[in-house]
Subunit: 345 residues, 4 copies
């Protein structure tokens, strides 16, 4: 049994993480924390956990003690806070999987420019936590910067075509839509039920922070500077992300070459389901699971490829991915606790 702790357990990603860890036969949850609810039981805040996880929330003030009592620490805090934890635990043997943005960027200046905050832990030994692309690096990493939700869906959709240079990098547009759990549990008018129900809208156009994260991974794959458009939308539903990705196909690229690129990169992946050409992933088909379903279409009139990918934002887009990374880093079978059937309908 590996002892793990969850720092910031009361957000949606934190709670999802607990759900997954509870069914993990090789993980033992040692500590869970929350600054705003220290001393309460997690099941008071999330009654669906009653009888399943009634642990008491501790405080970050004890982070060194928690760190020394854990082999892995999952951090699910707002950006800017994980690096404090990372710094304090630098000398401890504990390994860190951060679900936030602090450790996602290899070029810290990009982080600082998009997040408007100074990075305090620039020399951290870290790796980007998207298993299908960075698996080898994840195995030994001290700190894993778990990939974001929109970024996971977008990168996985585009990676094979970018890696094999089948599309024009600077033609990429990602138009994505997310269920509301992606916006977190914090109250705001835009996510108040009557405002959002029977409603659909875009937000953060041309300035969403997942943009540079997608660009970083695409550049890693192609070796080319890549600038994309990314537009997120909010769907009146709880869970799920669909990314609709557009790119111009290079000359002489055939359908078979596209199909081969997907097969080569993902054919052996446990959590990617390739639906093939002319198919339609739906968010509900992956709900509650760690799957990323991918389908693609060619528009011969415009010579663009349209790739569709669907994930559950809280699982493959956050907590599931974190446990997948944990399994890799801890040397377990990658699917432990993650091979669940999507909840449908």
């Amino acid at each position: 049994m590996v002892k793990v702790s969850v720092i910031g357990a009361t957000g949606y990603a934190g709670a999802e993480l607990l759900s997954i860890l509870l069914r993990h036969p090789q993980a033992q949850i040692a500590h869970i924390t929350s600054e705003s609810h220290t001393g309460k039981k997690i099941s008071e805040l999330y009654p669906h956990l009653r009888g399943l996880c009634d642990m008491t929330l501790e405080s970050l003030a004890e982070i060194e003690k928690i760190g020394s009592d854990s082999e892995f620490i999952f951090i699910a805090l707002p950006h800017g806070h994980a690096m404090d934890v990372g710094l304090k635990l630098e000398k401890f043997p504990v390994r860190i999987i951060d679900l936030g943005a602090d450790y996602r960027f290899s070029d810290v200046s990009i982080y600082e420019a998009w997040y408007n905050v100074e990075h305090k832990h620039k020399n951290a030994q870290r790796v980007y936590g998207l298993a299908e692309i960075y698996r080898n690096e994840i195995r030994e990493a001290k700190i894993i910067g778990n990939a974001g939700c929109f970024t996971t869906a977008s990168i996985l959709a585009l990676a094979p075509l970018v890696k094999h240079h089948l599309i024009d990098s600077n033609s990429i547009i990602v138009d994505a839509a997310s269920g509301v759990s992606g916006a977190g549990r914090g109250l705001k008018l835009g996510n108040h039920f009557p405002e959002l129900y029977d409603n659909f809208k875009a937000y953060n156009v041309a300035r969403h922070r997942h943009t540079p994260e997608i660009e970083q991974a695409l550049k890693d794959l192609s070796g080319e500077e890549t600038i994309i458009n990314f537009t997120p939308h909010l769907v009146p539903m709880s869970r799920g992300i669909l990314a609709t990705c557009y790119a111009s196909i290079k000359e002489k690229v055939s359908d078979d070459m596209i199909d081969a690129a997907f097969q080569k990169m993902y054919g052996a992946e446990k959590f990617i389901r390739l639906l093939g050409k002319n198919s339609y992933p739906e968010t509900k088909f992956v709900r509650g699971s760690n799957f990323c379903d991918i389908g693609w279409h060619i528009d011969e009139r415009t010579r663009r490829v349209i790739i569709l990918s669907a994930i559950d934002n809280l699982v493959k887009g956050a907590a599931g991915q974190a446990v997948q990374n944990f399994n890799i880093a801890a040397g377990f079978y990658e699917g432990v606790a993650l091979e669940v059937v999507p909840l449908y309908p």
Copy 2:
């Protein structure tokens, strides 16, 4: 490994059953059938099962062969069809768990009166499949008539008070509401998305077929003839049932007596979570799980008790309960494959 088959696998209850059986370490799915989709893969009809269950649907025409090749058969057919299967398999050692109504009634004439159909298998050796009440009978039964969805929520809410004679049996009113998956996958205008979205309605007032089923169980518990009002409503959501049950409290009955009745009957039950007095179960807190959450309130002004119970209609109200019954009947630990964390939010 026990070989099981699912007759009628393409309805929502059938698909949920597959989801649960796929994670059952001691069950092996031998055959699945569908008359309207014979020859197709189940994952063509339910793409969320792609890669997880790609079995081919067979036909009922082969029921004897299926029966002789299975130790347990789950039937998820419309009422009136399971008794045909039951008759044909009478001489086989296979045991049957029927998710429909055909084997739920000990007095067949009640079934015939409410379902408008002649019963063809009146002398079947059968038991009502609600584990918390009929567990001992389930162990050895040849045929288990799995309890209905509304009935499960209603009976579990009322059983302790009826059994201990704390309420007036003929004062009982059950006002319940269900998500739309309870109405099945068959198309009809009332369940067409735009008609139901942002809408709420009652249906089958004073004539829903779950009424006599609730009455039968309450009578079994109290020994008294019991006539109740039952009113179902349709909620614009996918899953979940909340039953709001009203009854007049007998004189001199105290809160403690009510609490004791719940504790005594359910204190050791794995799938019932007693939230206690003045608490509020919510359907989402049990979503995807086999739990029944129960809370209760006293209105001192009218001397009525109001009991609230929440289940997932497709799990504890159908497929989960069926697997719970299967575990009991097969001699397994009752919670196998059923101890999942509810999917929230």
Copy 3:
């Protein structure tokens, strides 16, 4: 043109009121107020009003000025605040329609007991604002205490049977469900989108403040003390209330007598649609309109009548009813600005 003002225009009821008044050919909106948003345009807070109503929100501090500049004042403030306004405007000729609870009770002690606040304006000349029952009193009233949302649906469903003594008053149970706009625009976790979506729950069992309001009206109609059970539920939708009302029918009461009671009381009512026996009102069929649709059922086995009534909680349950009262009080045709087709689907 009659000059009207809206005190507390930024809640959902206030905004709905503006929508209706904007299409009222004989009303001119003079002032709108908000304490938390004074100085802003209402269309900044409610962008659907852009170009239709860009008035600036004033402060209650100027209430005497507003009062002397208006013939009618609509108040849509939390309970406890309207009586301050009422007191201050006592000497002005302006008439008041309060959408809150302060002026709904003829016996002020009931208000004080259920709302936990001292009434400061006990001797106010007021009337209960439910037009179908108190129309004559409304014509001349100085202050109209507009009926609540659940109460409107409940009272209208029960009134004919109570008035004609066809049911046992003390057998009444009202089980009702409301869309989330009924809970207001104030942020709270329970109404955060991901918490409520795909979820259903009861709240305030045995203690909702609409209970004594329903009882008051039923007593007015029957002359008998009446104690009822009232249970509200929250439906994951924006608008609409369905009340499911249960009562024991007195001996020798026939279906025809019930039908006649409804016809006699509502046959000439513009905003009540009698659907008749065995019919099912749906909230969406009245969405955005001032209608109350009513259907009813008899359960011969229990000798109970089940009456179903549907309204839009923000229209007939709040702002529409207020304008209906305004039309009566101002001597206009009762349907002005209210004869709209429900928005379906």
Copy 4:
């Protein structure tokens, strides 16, 4: 009073048309038809119309009689059927507003290629029914081919920039999402409530029939051949379309030039609300109304403009637009019956 008839009144667009015409002071509904429900009252099929429109549905078999008894005919039939009506009424003075696709294309071969059907009324005197662009042509037209829902949102978003040559025509991508009423009232599994709830998906990628319709209008405006990508998505909500449109800005084009183009084209338009740069239209802010709300953003990194437009698919996207065209063609004030406040929340 102008006599109008509605051919195909039982679809969602037909029913919405009735709702609008019922409040039109200068229109009298003469006939309504349905082939599948001839002889029934429309209010049996749409109970929200009870008491408001209880007209009996007639049959198309009487089209000449209906045509000679009407000054305007609205057709809301599936494509391929309106041209039969158009042919039969060619010699009658009646004017036609077709909500379907049959009369939308000036180049009939495009219609035939995308709709897979031979056009039978090629020489019809027709005009494209998008008032903001073709207003003058609409005034005198015999047949008006009312613009489609996605096309209305897309064309209005792009028209000013295309007309003033501020963007590269062949860089245009329209990524749009619609509520489910856009898919009609016909039953199909994909629109069955439990399948779509909490779900999001794309459909008809690279082959949706609204594509050439958008291209036709853009070409009319710019004079250049235009090929675009258009991708529709289905949102789990009833009503509303949001179009997210991408295009590369030409060199030296400034924000002011973009703003000026919108102002010049739409500054005086009654039903277009320009929200300006960096703003976010939401579908709910136009629900039930004839508005098209438009906002736009510049991504300086990619030099693309992103234009967002929101409409109610059944109003500005269908029935409202039809009545707007009717008002123009009949010589009425353009806003008659259409100046309603959006229904929010």
